[in-house]
């Protein structure tokens, strides 16, 4: 078995595609039930997203929407890789962005040059997000509180703090004519400029997308290429073995939670720095979206990127469905089914892969087995046994390595 064995990799590629097809079928069925034409729906979505009219703008928009999704999913994935469920991305992101937004617009920082203020905002957002995540980490480490529950509670509590602070009596302001409370608008020197992807589009891609990409690369490098990453993965794969290997579980939980919360703090920054230029009470909650996307992308930085784009495509392109009087909830249904189908498909693919590995192990060790078979003649003679000692014929012992043999495999018994 080679390092990149096609037999092992192929199921992993087929799995998400099969899941997508299934999701499309399910939503088609839903559409047919409500008397709509699925093809019309899908073509309207594609036309809106990539067609000549709206295409360039909407495609850019998909990228822009995918950017915070990507960050949210990365935040979740860091935890997932060590078996930690950070469901609190939402709260961490809101507190982080509020602190960053308020500070970025604060007058006492007015003298600081814009780019430096951006850096300060990024650092503050990460620090506050990490600090809020640390509450859950400490509760887990020292009080044994499951992070699943504590982060959910902390989302509500963080939200309360956010809502308390972002009012016109405190950190918030209201623009003339508007009703939305937000932090003061950032000065334009601390905006991150966007870039046009296609000629003549009004919509610009967030400059922060490059930060997100950098985060993805950093994630890949950290998890796959560093000692810390090894500890992280080892803990996720087998916590007790990781402990025996020298990983300190407490430190690991805290470090991972801090990292995850830090990235969570970044989630809303692309939009704030690139478009809104202020933090509002309606910062979208991306915690659950992040979980779903991390799962779809198998916690892999490239997979997450693809999943984020898919998710963003579905979210953005459903807009024209209303015009056609097609219920756009089918998109949510499709998202839910995709996640479920993808994880099931990966599970099945992993089973196929595992079986293939066992076969190849069996094939490699089976040959060795045959050589040693047979009773030494001396012993047989001494004991007078040979009645039931027929050695196993070689073809049979290797039979299961032939994939076509319909042996009763463990996987098929249930």
């Amino acid at each position: 078995m080679k390092r990149w064995d096609l037999r092992r990799v192929l199921p992993m590629i087929i799995a998400p595609i099969a899941a997508l097809v299934l999701a499309a079928l399910v939503s088609s069925a839903a559409l047919l039930i409500s008397g709509k034409d699925p093809l019309e729906a899908f073509s309207a979505m594609f036309d809106y997203a990539f067609g000549p009219n709206s295409g360039p703008d909407v495609t850019t928009e998909i990228l822009n929407k995918a950017t915070p999704y990507y960050l949210a999913a990365l935040a979740v994935a860091i935890g997932f890789r060590m078996g930690l469920f950070n469901i609190g991305v939402d709260g961490q992101s809101r507190l982080g962005i509020l602190a960053a937004g308020a500070l970025g617009a604060a007058s006492f920082l007015g003298v600081v040059p814009g780019p430096l203020r951006v850096v300060i905002m990024i650092i503050v957002a990460m620090a506050v997000g990490a600090a809020w995540a640390a509450v859950a980490a400490l509760l887990k480490v020292y009080r044994g509180v499951s992070e699943v529950i504590s982060t959910i509670m902390l989302n509500f509590i963080g939200g309360a703090i956010f809502a308390y602070l972002l009012t016109t009596e405190r950190l918030g302001v209201k623009a003339v004519g508007g009703e939305i409370v937000s932090t003061p608008l950032l000065k334009s020197d601390s905006w991150i400029p966007g870039m046009s992807l296609f000629a003549g589009t009004a919509n610009k891609m967030f400059g922060f997308a490059f930060v997100a990409i950098a985060c993805g690369i950093a994630y890949w490098f950290l998890v796959g290429r560093t000692r810390f990453g090894f500890d992280l993965r080892a803990t996720g794969l087998n916590p007790s073995a990781a402990v025996a290997s020298g990983v300190s579980p407490k430190r690991m939980v805290i470090a991972t939670m801090l990292l995850s919360g830090g990235v969570a703090g970044l989630v809303a920054l692309p939009e704030v720095l690139g478009r809104d230029h202020a933090v509002t009470t309606s910062t979208p909650a991306l915690g659950f979206t992040g979980i779903a996307i991390a799962l779809l992308g198998r916690n892999n930085p490239v997979g997450i990127a693809l999943a984020a784009l898919l998710w963003a495509f579905l979210d953005v392109s459903n807009l024209p469905l209303d015009l056609l009087d097609i219920p756009k909830e089918i998109v949510t249904i499709m998202q839910g089914v995709t996640v479920l189908a993808v994880v099931v498909a990966y599970e099945l693919a992993a089973r196929v892969g595992r079986r293939q590995q066992q076969r190849s192990v069996g094939a490699a060790t089976g040959e060795a087995a045959i050589v040693t078979l047979g009773i030494p003649a001396a012993i047989a003679a001494k004991l007078g046994v040979e009645a039931v000692s027929a050695p196993v014929e070689p073809p049979d012992s290797t039979a299961p390595t032939d994939p076509t043999v319909p042996g009763k495999h463990r996987e098929e018994q249930s």
């Binding site: 000692r227 007790s240 073995a241 300190s248 590995q357 066992q358 069996g362």
Partner: protein
């Protein structure tokens, strides 16, 4: 108990007969054309190397695995068994190799589970359990919580579970692995009691002398096939071993002492307590010198695991631990390992491997901060891969490549990988807990040889094992642990397994057998 309903041994059809059983797993033929005939009212032993297919065969008989081929006869009539339920209905009961008990349930709940129809789950069941317990002298209290019981009691609960269901055929898969000789004797007493009542016992063990002493017939399985059925009176343990392995065993190597007087690991007053204050390891002190193997004998659950964990730094402890002159008591596990403590954990799958990761990543585990696995804070993947190839070759890990996952390897090969990994870092001290548990004879000899070799090179070894022969054969000095205390020292040159076993139960505390190390 249905003592009457059992076909008598002589003359009638065999109580259990298996014909031509074949069972394949992906990549493995676990059973191939197996024939087995067990007479009623006897104790029938099955022996074979690890992975020979014994457990699989019994699981087939008990309905937990379906054979690909072959027939089963109970009391002479053919029967299909597709689930444990059917097996139980056919009068078959099984005590599994690993305890099948729910810790958070009471004894009663564990026993009646699945057999609620017998006597309900309340007072009736309690009465029945008490009655069975006294009838067979098991001494089990139905209302105790499982987690409060020791291994011996657990074993008896397992047997009680089988009896409670009115089994006429009782399968015991390695029931003695975790028992001390005295407990084994008790168990055998129980088994004979059962056969006197007319029950049939099928019994799997790796301990050949035990088998010879208790069985009425012995079947040897090798590589999934029945090799022979022999009469215990006409064979020796050595004959059996030869049948199992299929070749002559290497004779035990003559011992030569390599012990120096340079201490490498010194433990002083080491104490591990539960949160409630009970001492699990109680004021333990000893020294390991360069080139010395110190063996710890003890019944499982007397603090060995905690002692190892305390030395490895994965469990809080009081007292001092000195490695090569450095007090390492306050160090974390990583620091200890980097300082030269090698570790072969007791449960390799739980503590030693990442089953879903490839071999080369498993090679890094535990040494992820050291060359060849790391350069500074980064991993050195190429280095680790190269070194893994070398370990695979040197330690005869049977695998098609280093990219398969560790979970795809057999237990013995997994163990060889772990041993190779630990040895290749040339530890100053090796903490080896049951280094050959679940490993077949060939691999066992190889692992011993590796340990001896490293010892010659000056490594100190702390050896913990349930295999008394291994302990005696490998150790330069032996200590007995009982309830967390070192209660006796023994000289491996003179002590016998029986004496050691006696000391392990605490009975010999203070007796004349101890000698100074």
């Amino acid at each position: 108990m249905p003592a009457d309903a059992v076909p008598s041994s002589a003359g009638g059809p065999p109580a259990v007969e298996l014909r031509g059983i074949t069972k394949r797993f992906p990549g493995v033929v676990a059973n191939h054309d197996v024939f087995l005939s067990v007479s009623g009212g006897t104790i029938h032993a099955i022996v074979g190397e690890n992975g020979a297919g014994k457990s699989t065969l019994m699981k087939i008989l008990y309905g937990m695995q379906r054979p690909d081929d072959g027939e089963i006869f109970i009391g002479g009539s053919p029967i299909t068994i597709h689930s444990p339920q059917q097996a139980i209905r056919a009068g078959i009961g099984m005590v599994h190799q690993h305890f099948m008990l729910a810790d958070n349930f009471t004894v009663l709940e564990n026993v009646v589970l699945g057999a609620e129809d017998e006597a309900g789950i309340g007072a009736g069941a309690r009465k029945k359990i008490q009655q069975l317990s006294s009838q067979y002298g098991l001494g089990v209290d139905p209302d105790e919580l499982m987690e409060d019981l020791g291994v011996g009691d657990r074993q008896r609960v397992e047997i009680l579970k089988v009896l409670y269901r009115g089994a006429k055929i009782v399968i015991l898969d390695e029931p003695t692995a975790v028992l001390v000789p005295q407990e084994v004797d008790e168990l055998f007493g129980n088994l004979r009691e059962l056969t006197r009542e007319g029950l049939t016992v099928i019994f799997i063990s790796h301990k050949l002398d035990e088998v010879l002493s208790v069985a009425d017939a012995i079947t040897v399985i090798r590589r999934g096939t029945t090799v022979a059925t022999v009469d215990p009176k006409s064979v020796t343990a050595r004959d059996l071993a030869t049948l199992m392995v299929g070749s002559e065993l290497p004779s035990p190597e003559a011992r030569e002492s390599t012990v120096t007087d340079i201490p490498v690991l010194t433990i002083n007053g080491l104490t591990v307590s539960t949160p409630a204050g009970r001492a699990l390891v109680d004021d333990v002190s000893f020294t390991i010198h360069k080139g010395e193997v110190v063996g710890i004998a003890g019944v499982e659950g007397n603090g060995q695991a905690e002692l190892v964990e305390a030395i490895m730094g994965t469990r809080a402890a009081r007292g001092s631990v000195q490695l090569d002159g450095n007090a390492i008591g306050g160090w974390g596990t990583r620091q200890r390992r980097e300082a030269g403590v090698g570790y072969i954990p007791e449960d390799r799958q739980r503590h030693g491997l990442l089953l879903d990761a490839p071999l080369w990543e498993n090679r890094m585990l535990g040494h992820q901060t050291e060359p060849p696995n790391a350069k500074g804070p980064l991993l050195d993947i190429a280095g680790a891969r190269r070194d893994t190839e070398q370990i695979v070759a040197q330690y005869d890990v049977r695998t098609p490549s280093i990219d398969v996952t560790a979970g795809a390897l057999s237990g013995g090969n997994q163990q060889k990988l772990i041993v190779g990994r630990e040895m290749s870092h040339i530890p100053k001290v090796l903490i080896a807990a049951h280094p050959t548990r679940g490993v077949d004879v060939g691999a066992q000899a190889a692992i011993w040889e590796h340990i001896r070799e490293a010892r010659r090179a000056g490594m100190g070894v702390l050896l913990i094992s349930a295999d008394l022969d291994e302990l005696i054969g490998l150790s330069d000095s032996l200590k007995v642990i009982y309830r967390g205390r070192l209660v006796a020292d023994a000289d491996p040159d003179t002590v016998t397994p029986e004496e050691l076993g006696l000391a392990m139960t605490g009975a010999a505390a203070g007796s004349s057998r101890e000698e100074s190390a």
